[in-house]
């Protein structure tokens, strides 16, 4: 039982020279007190306490405008290619690799299956079927990456899909963080392989006809 002799002790007072530099509980960023919120509401502002968006909410950096330009050029190429023959379209089969990184420093070569080879051999002889590939580094916003384009020759979309599934089995887990795209045209059957590496130092997979 508490006796009357027990007294709470007051903490010692700060020295006279002590001056608190800031408020004990500094306001959060974007926080409005009651008066500020009432004033904001009188102007018709919304109830959100979050930092206000920029006008219209579109904060596009100059690098993104360049990226948009590239997208428009790419879309123009896809939509306007042989537009006088609209029954044929440019198709794309994308695959995105997100598996663990194991052997990115070693290039892998995929051999085209025999069934595909026979169809390729039956293509017109005047068409060039040699591989063209090159690598360059685009100035991506906040990203350094490499892109490799390889011309695969004449294939139809079905063969491209078979090739793609074989490609997936072969390279699964060995080429991570790669965006691989097979581009083709249904009428002319020209087919390209586009491999985009998110790792600037990693090597890119490629296809070989041998």
């Amino acid at each position: 039982m508490l006796s009357g002799a027990v007294r709470a002790r007051r903490p010692p007072s700060p020295p006279p020279s002590y001056h608190q530099s800031g408020p004990r509980f500094p306001p959060k960023e974007g926080h409005l007190d009651a008066d500020e919120r009432r004033a904001a509401a009188s102007l018709g502002y919304g109830p959100s306490r979050k930092p206000a968006h920029a006008s219209g909410g579109y904060n596009i950096t100059p690098g993104e405008w360049k990226l948009l330009l590239v997208l428009v050029v790419l879309a123009s190429a896809v939509r306007l290619f042989r537009i006088s023959k609209p029954d044929s379209v440019v198709y794309a089969i994308p695959l995105l690799y997100q598996s663990t990184f194991r052997r990115a420093d070693q290039s892998r070569t995929l051999k085209i299956p025999d069934s595909t080879k026979s169809i390729l051999a039956s293509s017109p002889p005047d068409t060039s079927r040699h591989d063209i590939s090159w690598t360059f580094t685009p100035h991506w916003p906040n990203c350094s990456s490499r892109l490799r384009l390889s011309y695969l020759g004449l294939m139809d979309s079905l063969i491209s899909q078979r090739l793609q599934s074989r490609f997936l089995r072969r390279f699964k887990g060995t080429c991570p963080n790669h965006f691989v795209l097979v581009l083709g045209h249904t009428k002319t059957r020209h087919t390209w392989l586009c491999a985009w590496s998110l790792r600037p130092s990693g090597s890119l997979p490629f296809l070989s006809r041998t």
Binding site: R37, H53, G57, L71, V78, V89
Partner: protein, 195 residues
């Protein structure tokens, strides 16, 4: 003639990118979505034929884009000049959507539901006075109802001014309307009268 739907199909791609950026998506996400739209076979095919679907898709994307800009501006500063600009552009693009095809009415429904949600939120906000709420309501009613109707009717008026002569599609029109066309081949008939 194919260039018009193709151009609209091309313009849909940056609209998708900008819309996603306006929705606070990352640049990589917006890029991926744009690539999907670029290589989507149905959209490519639609863009290469002389159809009404390409304008419909473009104006739908434009409506979503300007509506996103308006919603962001509404959180920023209502009744400012950009706020009125985005809202008016939304109304104009809604008129363009429904002028392309009546399927665009679904876009109007989508924007209408978003507007109802915004007004409902404002109604429950005790800091918004009834007078201010009425201003919000009238501004949206003006720009999202009156402006699209006016746009739709003006499009009809332009058609009537341009297409004033008779053509192959006369059979789809009423007899009274066919008589207003120049060079119509429909013979005059007597109107029935009570005896």
């Amino acid at each position: 003639m194919r260039m018009v739907p193709a151009t609209l199909g091309i313009a849909t791609v940056p609209l998708a990118y900008l819309t996603l950026r306006g929705l606070d998506c990352r640049a990589t996400t917006s890029l991926l979505a744009s690539l999907f739209i670029i290589f989507e076979n149905a959209l490519i095919t639609q863009s290469r034929h002389i159809l009404l679907d390409s304008p419909l898709v473009f104006f739908t994307a434009l409506t979503v884009f300007v509506w996103t800009g308006f919603c962001n501006e509404d959180k920023h500063e209502p009744f400012s000049d950009p706020w009125w600009g985005w809202l008016t552009l939304t109304g104009l693009s809604l008129g363009a959507v429904v002028s392309s095809k009546w399927v665009g009415l679904f876009t109007i429904t989508t924007v209408g539901l978003g507007t109802i949600r915004q007004l409902w939120t404002l109604l429950g906000d005790l800091r918004v006075s009834p007078r201010l709420w009425i201003r919000h309501f009238l501004a949206r009613a003006l720009c999202l109802i009156i402006v699209p109707i006016l746009f739709y009717m003006i499009m009809f008026q332009i058609h009537f001014l341009i297409l004033e002569n008779s053509g192959d599609g006369d059979g789809f029109m009423s007899a009274e309307f066919q008589h207003t066309l120049g060079g119509h081949g429909m013979a005059d008939t007597y109107a029935g009268a009570f005896q």
